[in-house]
Subunit: 288 residues, 4 copies
């Protein structure tokens, strides 16, 4: 249950005496009531993280810009990176897909039933297959086929759509193309990918078939921010499902799909609730 006038203030800075105080004192001065707050201090990295949900003052107008500029100076004293988010505003999320529909299907179901408080201004695919599913939910679908020769151009089109959509998050919901290093760099920290995670780790093609050969008893999925190494970015969350000997490769794939859906949706939820901080190739997820 979130109060309608709730904002979230996130901040991170080098560990230093007073990092909490600079945030909480400002909130008090501004008449903002702290409803829920978590901090974490990474003692090894010397890095501090804070997430504060607060209710703006009720008796007067709340001037977001004034709040921001007032805080900016104090934050600067602590070399603090920070952002302020209106919790009632639904962020724009652009979804990239190819042919597999399980993750998209699941995300659109959560979107339609209000479980996932996002807007979806665009679905982009390198294949036409999922157009019908997008249409059904009245979401613009962009078919941007790609070949090695047209990759640069296709990514440029993709980028235009992302920018024009004012997207705050890009979700690779089983988008089966490797993004260029340039695009990865542009999307760093605001593009989430999902991929299988198997124990032990299997490299190469047909991982579920390899896993079947080994008789794995668990299949998992990892949701992470993308970076240059597409399947190896900072991990946001991971899921797991038990399997047994009666699972043939296609059953492992099916179980894998289930856990991919759940794990991806959870990662998006954490992201839009402003719980995730990315630093040094990994993440802090506060209050999850």
């Amino acid at each position: 249950m979130t109060h309608p006038d709730t904002y979230i203030l996130n901040a991170t800075s080098p560990s230093r005496l007073g990092t909490v105080d600079v945030v909480t004192r400002y909130l008090r001065e501004q008449g903002c009531y702290v409803a829920d707050m978590q901090t974490f201090d990474d003692a090894r990295a010397g890095q501090f993280f804070i997430r504060a949900e607060f209710r703006r003052p009720q008796e007067q107008a709340f001037d977001e810009e004034a709040f921001r500029s007032g805080f900016a100076g104090r934050a600067a004293d602590f070399d603090m990176e920070w952002r302020l988010t209106d919790r009632s505003r639904k962020p724009n999320v652009v979804i990239l897909v190819s042919k597999f529909d399980h993750c998209l299907n699941d995300l659109l179901y959560r979107y339609r039933t209000g479980q996932l408080a996002i807007e979806i201004p665009a679905i982009i695919s390198n294949h036409p297959d999922l157009q019908r599913l997008a249409d059904w939910h009245h979401i613009p679908f962009y078919h941007l086929p790609v070949t090695p020769e047209t990759k640069a151009e296709q990514e440029a089109q993709m980028w235009d759509i992302i920018r024009e959509s004012e997207a705050e998050l890009v979700v690779l919901a089983r988008y089966m193309q490797v993004l260029s290093p340039e695009l990865c760099t542009r999307l760093e920290g605001w593009a989430i990918n999902i991929h299988h995670s198997l124990l032990p780790g299997f490299k190469g093609a047909m991982p579920y078939h390899q896993a079947y050969q080994k008789g794995v008893k668990l299949v998992g999925a990892t949701a992470h921010y993308i970076n240059d190494d597409l399947d190896e970015g900072p991990i946001i969350t991971q899921g797991i499902q038990p399997v047994d000997h009666s699972h043939y490769p296609e059953d492992l794939v099916a179980k894998g799909r289930d856990v991919e859906c759940i794990t991806l949706a959870r990662a998006i939820q954490y992201h839009i609730e402003q719980r995730v901080f990315m630093y040094q190739g990994k993440t802090v997820v506060l209050g999850s």
Copy 2:
């Protein structure tokens, strides 16, 4: 991994602007570094809770008493109840048992292997059976038999041991006697009991046999602070285990024992880590 010079400051007060700030500002003024902090605001009850783990200043001596008296005045302005705990100090825990040994066994194992950072100055029982187990761990064992006629006297002896042990927590590890309302009142908020939790709820004798008759598919346990109604105090944590048709009543009892052990140990852990606040017949557990 806890830093050696870590303290925990817990506080609760009516919800009011500045409750976080009064804590964080004081910590800063005292040169204390906040390593980990959670707050919760119960918007329905209008009650605020905060738990702050902090490291005392390194460059100078830390005067606990000065810290306490300095904070007391400010806390009073907010009608704040609070406590300061040295995280490195192991609290004294007195354990009450009868004949069942599974919870005691489990607690002593965690105690011996250092998983549970407590001292156990006394084990009290109304039966002699578990003396040997206590001896093995070099823990004083008090056999205090009880009859309806001697109950008041027995409880008085029990209370003496608890007081002389300087116990900060009393654990009813399957102690099969109903405590008197007077003793319950004295122990309010610092005595933890464990009992079974079955779905649907079964009242009366032999609950596992009733559960078997209904073919339950889950058995559970609830750890709670005791109050007048012995099995119904504020819940700290609950555990659950799946069962199936192949579990006869004695198997359900065995599964129940497992989940009782785990759930009781977790409740004790939360309590000694100063995570639990009791109010209005229920609990807030921060950072669990």
Copy 3:
């Protein structure tokens, strides 16, 4: 992965030497290959259960009727109740709803995506609200309002629809009317209901609000066959979700909805896979 020519033979009888053999010998004689089999013997009740998935002979036509009549005689010698099911045939399932849509929504999603291999010839409701959801999936929707005066007549209409649909299963997906004892008796063993399960058990109105008052740390749901006591029939499966102090009553209700959806869907899956035997007020669920 199920082989296309797979059948399931279920049987139960009083425990007696030879109960397994009479099944497996017949299957061998008929040239049927046993792909997956589980048995359970309830030593306390003296009742035996078996579920055998087998592949019919490939080289010749498979005469289901001949198979049935051949087995009937042998089964009779063991006072065996049994049923033969073609695994590739989707059973007709009639769904009863009122105003809450979460369970229906979830079931239709699983139905549409093929996760739940059923046909849905009819959705019946005492309210018009969910007509649109049914239409969207092209499923006939019957609005049968009910008052104390019209209850007998409404149930008669309901029964006609169930019968004419050749339903093999009736699902009460949050149908908020108590069925008459007569209808309950008619539906015994083939109608599944879902209701909340809270620890400890709360009786009466607004159970989640009661649970909130107690500060429960788990919310659950129970799927069961209906009988005279609507919320107390034989349990098929139960689910649970952790909650904490930050869950207000409406959050508990929301978590409860999630676990109701998952638990009901799992119960239906077990039922249509012919895994569930009902006896003596409880169930055996083989190979779950």
Copy 4:
């Protein structure tokens, strides 16, 4: 709850019509009552597996040898490998350790409290550290130091102890030496190892530190039969524990220890309950 006169018959053979029947018919002819049975047919590998728990005839003596020789002929017709186990007999288990004590500690706790129905005739270590723990449980402890030069000789001594103990199972409870290919071959199918499993898979030294760098959100463990490739044998069972950003490398290691203990104990339980079949580099685990 196991009946005292219970036996387990396990068998595997190429998939063929009649494989179930040959087992169940024989059990019936011998007057043995099947209490619990599972089969699995690997349709891809064309391999069949069966595990039957049965109660021997009560009214007469049960001649195990006669039972064996009677079944041997029939099993041969199906190229069946099989074994008969008296469920009440505790198998001899030899445990190999080095310096880490968490798995040994856990196993001895389960052994002492009767949760693990085994005898432990010997604990072997290449270090003297765990002698005291063994002594405490009155179990012979063999300190067999090893260097590259003495490895062959040390393994010969180890083998002598294993053989003289009439061990049916060898458990590598964090034994930090690589066994020679010769010893691995001798122990194939009856030696269980435990090792960490991290997502994604990390190769090389200090895996938990690598996992920390990546910010993993799950740590796991795999219990497997050993083969030539020490960390890569057929998987019996796998466990997992959630972790978060607040877990430093040493916390990950600690969580890893917990999951190693639980996972290893479960694997041993499956093995001694005769649930595990090893074939084609993986396992079938029936009725787990």
